[in-house]
């Protein structure tokens, strides 16, 4: 009994780890799409964020008093060493910051194409994806000469697991103890950020004036415009917030859960997040549920490979690998009603004629 409970907890534990980037990306997509901007570039932003984070964390973590800082005489006596140690100590945070900035920049580019120039959202999003896939490898190659990878990050260069107080002792307490020690404690900080992002996004959308306007601009931008509020500025803020969340997700991939950038490491997670968002009908809590479901299916699949199943013996690899997708199709087709997107989604807005 206790054994089975631990097994379940471990699958749920894996669920959280695998769902965290999906949640952040899906929330990013949700904010963007509720404002009327289709965000198919989630995948590219995720990848670019992962690269920026790993690259900057690696550079910051390995910075020394020599070189760059020596060329800055205004740092003063011993200033170079101090500057380097400041960089070293906060390496993952610099990575996170870089990821957020890069993703917000890509969001702004997407916005510039779709909002200011009223371009096609899908094309712009695909362009972001292609740009990220190519540029990460090219820049990585030029920076590190390791075939587009970043150097592997050391322990101090990434966000390590946080052990919650009393987790060691709590494991002894039956039922509740393992729940606390295995499931709640021991994740890196960004997993908690991801979980926190959902209520924050919900709060922002449904309890603030900004959220009200954001939702309105995704349904009937004319009404918002008539009220004297800038449609463009609202949508720009939405894509920037989306960039922020994608940056955190990218940082999670390469600098928290992973330890370094590998080409194309986002491996379709941006698209899965997009699917989860549609699955969740563009609402935060249902989207969270969808992300957790995808995470759970993948976590379960990782644990089912090679396990003896009743009647059919050891499960074939292909069957297990296809399981999350088959389940998704069944769930999408059978269990959930029609998903209605924001009415003005994908439609450019301009004042006056020709909109």
């Amino acid at each position: 009994m206790a054994e089975a409970w631990i097994d379940i907890l471990r699958i749920l534990d894996g669920t959280l780890r695998l769902a965290a980037p999906l949640i952040l990306c899906a929330m990013a997509g949700l904010i963007s799409e509720r404002s009327g901007i289709i965000d198919i570039g989630l995948e590219g932003k995720l990848l670019a964020g992962a690269f920026a984070s790993a690259a900057v964390a690696s550079l910051a973590g390995s910075a020394t008093g020599a070189g760059l800082f020596e060329a800055m005489p205004w740092l003063g006596e011993g200033g170079a060493e101090t500057a380097a140690s400041v960089l070293n100590a906060a390496a993952p945070w610099w990575g996170l910051l870089a990821a957020i900035l890069v993703c917000m920049f890509l969001g702004a580019v997407h916005g510039f194409a779709c909002i200011t120039h009223r371009g096609d959202h899908i094309i712009s999003g695909v362009a972001v994806n292609i740009l990220a896939a190519g540029l990460t490898v090219v820049v990585g190659f030029a920076l590190f000469r390791q075939g587009g990878q970043s150097p592997p990050l050391g322990r101090d260069e990434r966000f390590g697991p946080l052990q919650w107080p009393g987790a060691e002792g709590a494991a002894e307490i039956p039922v509740i103890g393992p729940l606390y020690a295995e499931l709640i404690s021991g994740h890196n900080i960004l997993v908690y950020v991801a979980l926190l992002a959902v209520p924050l996004v919900a709060l922002l959308l449904y309890r603030t004036t900004f959220g009200l306007r954001l939702r309105a601009v995704g349904e009937t931008p004319e009404a918002v415009d008539t009220a004297g509020i800038s449609v463009h500025w609202l949508r720009y803020r939405a894509v920037l917030i989306a960039g922020l969340l994608c940056g955190i997700a990218g940082c999670y991939l390469s600098t928290a859960h992973g330890a370094g950038f590998v080409r194309e490491m986002s491996a379709g997670k941006g698209f899965i997040a997009l699917a989860a968002m549609i699955f969740g009908k563009w609402r935060p809590w249902t989207t969270l549920f969808a992300c957790l479901l995808f995470g759970f299916l993948e976590s379960g699949a990782a644990r089912l490979q090679g396990v003896e199943l009743p009647l059919i013996g050891p499960a074939p690899v292909e069957l297990i690998l296809v399981l999350p997708y088959v389940m998704t199709v069944i769930l999408l087709a059978g269990f959930f009603g029609k998903a209605v997107p924001p009415r003005a989604l994908g439609q450019p807005y301009g004042k006056g004629r020709g909109k």
């Binding site: 097994d7 471990r10 894996g14 780890r17 695998l18 980037p21 490898v137 090219v138 190659f141 000469r145 390791q146 075939g147 587009g148 990878q149 592997p152 390590g160 697991p161 991939l253 859960h257 992973g258 330890a259 370094g260 590998v262 080409r263 194309e264 490491m265 491996a267 379709g268 997670k269 993948e298 976590s299 990782a302 644990r303 490979q305 090679g306 690899v317 292909e318 690998l321």
Partner: protein
């Protein structure tokens, strides 16, 4: 002025073509990843640079960055007068096959390919299962739980070959050993998914595995990271990955592509180049296990003795390691 420079250029070009061709002009086409990829290409580069140091012969080189460049690069090398073109990795098989057919007088060689048929092409195949057998022995004897793991990248026969050798070695060293095998996926994306690699490693550790061998490219970096975070032991592959997480990488299964590159260049220079398939196993130092300052404390003298004994037995032919690619099955 312009005419003058044009004439000068023309003269230079003429001189270049008329100048006596150097007898031996080797070229290397590295594959995607580049020659400092800490893995396959870098291994080849190590062999090439050793050759350059010893002989002083200039080697032309090119680093492919997109798939379409492979054949182009090889053709350009030949047009620039290369007498030997060395390709790296199975992804270049089609390109080298086409170019070798068009230039029968030029010598070609490729690493990790064995199925082509050109009279001027040398192909290198590695007996990865023999190296995997050795790390299987190391894993089984080092494991405290009696459970070890294997994580493959894409589910293809080549990776099954790694897995099968590993299982055979582990079971030979310790018959009651329990082995978990996972594949990351069935598409090329499975080589670059460290998140999934980490999750698979975590699932194996949850089931009790304390030594995990990966043959999964970039995905494997996630495996090593997850294993190191949990304080268990990983086994690296292809190049020496002991330094990726010092203290948490038990050893690495080495594929000595540098030997293949060095041999090819040396043979061609000495006029001993021969076409056909060259198979490199333990006996030829084509595969091996890694022991350096990063893992010296992890390998106990008993384990080391056992690995060396297994190696000697395989080299002497007393132990036959099963090759999955030969019959598509793994009897263990």
């Amino acid at each position: 002025m312009r005419l003058l420079s044009f004439l000068a250029g023309l003269a230079l070009a003429l001189w270049a073509t008329l100048a006596p061709a150097q007898d031996f002009k080797p070229a290397v086409v590295f594959d995607m990843g580049g020659k400092f990829d800490k893995s396959f290409n870098e291994g080849v580069w190590n062999g090439v640079s050793k050759f350059i140091e010893e002989t002083g012969v200039e080697v032309m080189e090119f680093e492919v960055t997109t798939e379409t460049q492979r054949e182009q690069a090889m053709r350009r090398m030949v047009e620039r007068g290369a007498t030997l073109v060395l390709g790296v990795g199975f992804a270049q098989a089609d390109a080298i096959d086409a170019v070798a057919k068009d230039y029968p007088d030029v010598q070609f060689a490729i690493i990790d390919v064995f199925w082509l048929d050109q009279p001027n092409l040398r192909q290198y195949q590695f007996r990865e299962h023999e190296g995997s057998y050795l790390v299987g022995v190391a894993a089984a004897l080092t494991s405290e739980t009696g459970k070890v793991g294997f994580i493959g990248g894409m589910d293809i026969p080549l990776i099954r070959k790694f897995a099968c050798g590993y299982v055979q070695g582990a079971k030979a060293a310790r018959p009651d050993i329990e082995i978990f095998e996972n594949m990351t996926g069935t598409t090329p994306a499975a080589w670059n998914d460290p998140t999934k690699g980490a999750e698979l490693a975590q699932s194996q550790m949850d089931r009790g595995a304390d030594v995990i061998y990966h043959a999964a490219g970039g995905t494997g970096l996630g495996v090593i990271r997850a294993v190191a975070d949990a304080g268990e032991l990983a086994i690296g592959v292809d190049s020496n990955q002991n330094g990726l997480a010092p203290g948490n990488v038990l050893t690495s299964m080495l594929k000595r592509v540098d030997v293949a590159a060095y041999d090819t260049l040396m043979d061609a220079m000495n006029g001993e180049f021969s076409p056909g398939v060259v198979v490199l196993g333990l006996a030829e130092d084509g595969v091996d296990w890694a022991l350096d300052e990063h893992n010296a404390d992890l390998i106990t003298p008993e384990v080391k003795a056992a690995i060396e004994a297994a190696k000697a037995a395989i080299v002497a032919g007393e132990v036959k390691v099963h090759d999955y690619e030969a019959d598509g099955t793994c009897p263990f």
